[in-house]
Amino acid sequence: MQNSQSQGVSVRRISVASNPIIAFWQTVVGKKIVMAVTGLVLIGFVIGHVAGNLKIFIGPEAINAYSRFLREVGQPELEYEQVLWIVRSVLLACVALHVTAAVQLSKLSLGARPVDYKEKKNLATNMSAMTMRIGGLFLFGYIVFHVLHLTLGKVGYDPGEFHHLSVYQNVVNAFHHQPIAIFYIIAMGALFLHLDHGIWSMLQTLGFSNRKNQATLKGIGRLIAFLIFAGFISVPVAVMTGVIH
């Protein structure tokens, strides 16, 4: 951070990096584009995930078969769980890039106004946009818990309750613990806020939003975020109300 008083600083033409990918990643805009692209992949995953979850309403066989399918897809040409692990690696890489960029960019913004306004009004932003950092952090914690919980059965279960690949029974048992069901619903609320701003923000960053379609795209983003929210919470709600047992 420099201002006009700094000594001996001037604007010169130099090579800023040894290759264009590094030059791109070094810039704030480059990182912002990486956040948008990795965010897009994660949105795609979440939509696939919610669609998969809804199979639980068809019955135990449907969701358990789906869980086996995710592991067996590609066999016999590919190994058991090979596709699953490729998808997991891509998702992990996306989360890592998304969070790294978010942390680095947030630092810049948080340091850019050392003396805050005493009186400031906002005209365009909303709660979703204002909670991207704190909500994103919470979602990161949720994902860690969620994998330890429903994928690995390491937390949130009484001994003997969790059985690998018995997805239907695992989900029903999971949400019989009411605090956990409520925590999932709150986490999906956080996901709604994150995607409410995130979906449109991704489109804006990648240059798809313009003066004419901005309001429409924001509406579509909110609708998708809401459908994802409704789809996810329908499972814990159905277990708590006894629709699924």
């Binding site: 201002n3 010169r12 264009p20 704030v28 805009v29 850019a112 009186e119 365009a124 932003t125 923000s201």
Partner: protein
Amino acid sequence: MKFALKVWRQHDANAAGSFVDYEIDGITADMSFLEMIDALNEKLLLKGEDPITFEHDCREGICGSCGFLINGLAHGGQKATTVCQLAMRFFKDGDTIVLEPWRAAAFPIVRDLMVDRSAFDRIIQSGGYISVPTGGAPEASAILVGKDKADVAFDAAACIGCGACVAACPNTSAMLFTAAKMTHLNSLPQGQPQRDARTLGMITTMEQEGFGNCTNHGECEMVCPKEIPLEFIGKMNRDLIRAAMNGQTEANVRVDANGKMVD
């Protein structure tokens, strides 16, 4: 008309500032906001007090010198209007009006409501120019510019560099300004030779100056007196992808006395 004012007074960049209360009477509805401060300053001078420092030049909304927050809104909140063009009829008789300078690490306060926006000049220095051949004036029709391109470039060139976008931004980001300046030149045939270097250079310099990162709140476009749209930030982002695909690694950026890039 009569107003109560709360004005941020600060002697220089390093001094502690505070709000000071003033009363002003005898203002007419057709006076501009700056004329109202002129009237107050005359009173202060007669009393032997320091007048309120604020920046201004053209007073017709085209130079970009003026600007501060009025009741929490950059330029006061009238659509597409700079402070110098804001008439006092915008307020109600008897209103209390709060005046605060742009607040940004990159815009140190010079005094009171005036800030140093030379960070913008250095962003321009890194890419806000084109190379022009010397010699006689070229034939007017030698370079054809499509109407669509000319319109985009003209809309972008309307930016007067007042700094309201930075001031209004919750992230203190200068992306709307930088995107406008870049879109102006990157849209035109004359801007093509330096296009990728300009994009990389202006974006890098913007960060070096200490501005924050945009998270698409959209506050900037709401207060912009020239109605520069967020859309141009999307164009800037695509131009950076283009620069990377073209292998661009050289750019004009800020370097120290040893020629090393500053953070």
